[in-house]
């Protein structure tokens, strides 16, 4: 019992970045258990084409279940199929992404299988054959080392923490026929509004440009949008609780204890003073930049680089400098 299964998330028939992360993490873990990594891809007809690349991230077997009713995520269709595939294998652990889909799907699968689940995991280690899991609690004010007393151990991993690792082994695609009774689904997705195929949740972004009360008014957000666009792919906007509570920005962008906990490569805090619940939610970012006119703002205590200045002078200048950098290639 030493194999590890990775749930590989797709949207619109394309694998998401999170899929490479779960498969890479599964391959690392499987090597420690002395087993192999498998990937599970569910989607509409033709999804197998996108799935083959997962072999390059260490999946020895890529199990593909294609069905019309699985093209778009519907938890009532997905959860029983995933649970069935896990039962059919011999898995020590199963890795989900802690994306919006993963956070919805993994608990349902855990309940179907009657095994516990650790959410939003930032570390996976094997000690004396036992899986040790690191996960944040209290939105990152503390980290817990936990063990799961059940097999398989189910975890969902935080985006951007487990890096995709290309590997030589090319896995084989194994198609299976998922059992879905499309007429019996009690949940129906009517529409998706304002979400394009490549839309990123703030928790998945590799770079976050985040604004706080120092932005003064919602009309000023074009400054941050310009900076986001200048930096380019993988960049998302974030917000402090104060500006979400004021109705300036949607809750989906909120970073901190009653919003998202994030760990991007770069976090740019603009006009954010740094309340304790905000710092908890972003302090594991790799690099933090703070732009604030108050030199005593707590955000400077966690920032790697700070500029003490009026953000309305700094941000347009930063956008220009980033554009110059991008133009140079």
């Amino acid at each position: 019992m030493a194999d590890v299964l990775a749930f590989a998330e797709q949207r619109d028939g394309q694998l998401r970045g999170a899929a490479r992360e779960t498969v890479s993490a599964a391959a690392t873990l499987a090597a420690e258990f002395g087993g192999s990594a498998h990937a599970l891809v569910l989607g509409g007809p033709g999804v197998a084409d996108a799935a083959t690349e997962l072999g390059g991230f260490g999946a020895a077997s890529i199990q593909v279940g294609a069905h019309e009713a699985l093209a778009d995520y519907n938890p009532e269709a997905y959860a029983p199929v995933v649970a069935e595939r896990i039962r059919a294998g011999d898995y020590a652990a199963v890795i989900f992404p802690a994306s919006i889909l993963g956070k919805d799907l993994a608990p349902r699968v855990a309940a179907h299988l009657d095994v516990p689940l650790a959410t939003d995991v930032t570390g996976l280690e094997v000690q004396d054959g036992e899986l040790q899991v690191i996960r944040p609690m209290y939105a990152g004010k503390a980290f817990a080392r936990v063990t799961l007393d059940a097999t398989p151990a189910l975890v969902s991993i935080r985006p951007n923490v487990f890096q995709p690792m290309e590997r030589e082994a090319a896995g084989t695609v194994e198609a299976f026929e998922p059992q879905v009774d499309a007429g019996a689904l009690r949940l129906r997705v009517r529409e998706r509004k304002g979400s394009s195929g490549d839309a990123l949740d703030v928790a998945e972004a590799t770079i976050i440009v985040s604004g706080g009360r120092g932005m003064k008014a919602p009309d000023n957000w074009h400054l941050l949008e310009d900076l986001r666009d200048a930096i380019g792919d993988g960049t998302a906007l974030g917000a402090s609780r104060a500006v979400v509570d004021a109705g300036w920005r949607p809750h989906a962008e909120q970073v901190g204890q009653t919003g998202k906990t994030v760990a991007p490569k770069l976090y740019v805090a603009v006009g954010i003073s740094g309340a304790i619940q905000h710092l908890a939610g972003m302090r594991t970012s790799q690099t933090i930049v703070a732009i604030n006119k108050d030199p005593d703002a707590p955000i400077f205590n966690v920032a790697d680089y700070g500029i003490v200045a009026d953000l309305f002078d700094v941000v347009p200048r930063l956008t220009d400098e980033v554009k110059k950098l991008r133009a140079e290639g």
Binding site: T119, D120, P136, E191, V289, A309, R317, E321, V322
Partner: protein, 249 residues
């Protein structure tokens, strides 16, 4: 329409936490506890739904020790009708919590069971969807707004960069997040009335958690940062550092 809302007592999100000596839990002394903010959105959502329908009762349920009575009273002061305390140990294993709740709620005829999308202490985001599976009810997570339409409930869900509109058959379980349901403040009258509202206490079904916290640690300290400069003239140097030193751009 009768609605059940599950609520949890958690440390105030503005609180600095201290890890206890045994390193497996936090030290509760001096910590202010509150109703988990997401659960508060769920209570507000339930109250608004019942008020609009001019029909039904809101029952709040909490699993925890006797201190959770205070949490239930807070929800009763907002306007919930009845409270139920299931006395038991909370666990970071959401499945154990979901099973204890399911043991009580199995057979409930309330068309809607609401929870917060996650508890602001364990951050596991799992009790709601697990409860849905255990009770064999359709479940929607991360709901920012919903309305009942006949035998269904139509929900707005927060997804990447947008909103997903989902329709589910009743009876259902919904987990609620921030968006529409800014919680009301309890009025003095509400607080007085809450003292006289029924609050039942019984022992929770004992379910042993299978997630064990071996050790809690504080997040790693960040290295000393630097102030690159004062004023916009520092921007070119910042960009150079981000590119060459931090490799972040």
């Amino acid at each position: 329409m009768d609605i059940i809302v599950c609520v949890k007592r958690v440390p105030d999100t503005e609180t600095r936490i201290q890890i206890a000596e045994d390193e497996t839990r936090i030290d509760p002394s001096g910590v202010k506890f509150i109703i988990s903010p997401y659960d508060e959105f769920a209570v507000e959502a339930a109250l608004r739904t019942v008020e609009e329908a001019e029909d039904g009762e809101v029952t709040v349920v909490s699993l925890g020790d006797d201190d959770a009575q205070e949490t239930l009273r807070a929800a009763l002061a907002m306007g919930a009708d009845k409270g139920l305390l299931l006395q038991g140990e909370g666990s970071t294993d959401g499945l154990a919590t979901a099973k204890a709740l399911a043991a009580e709620l199995q057979g409930s005829e309330a068309p809607l069971i609401l929870l917060g999308v996650k508890a602001a202490d364990d951050d596991q985001s799992q009790v709601g969807p697990m409860l849905g599976v255990l009770l064999d009810r359709a479940t929607v997570t991360g709901v920012t707004a919903f309305r009942v339409e006949g035998d269904t409930v139509v929900c707005d869900r927060e997804v990447e960069g947008g909103v997903e509109v989902v329709e589910v058959d009743l009876p259902a379980v919904l987990t609620v997040t921030k968006g529409t349901y800014e919680p009301r403040y309890a009025s003095l009258k509400g607080i007085m009335a809450a003292k006289r509202k029924p609050l039942e206490t019984k022992e929770a079904e004992a379910v042993e958690g299978r997630i064990r916290v071996q050790q809690l640690t504080y997040p790693p300290e960040r290295g000393d940062g630097q102030i690159v400069g004062e004023g916009a003239d520092a921007v070119p140097e910042l960009v150079r550092l981000l590119r060459e030193e931090a490799n972040a751009l």
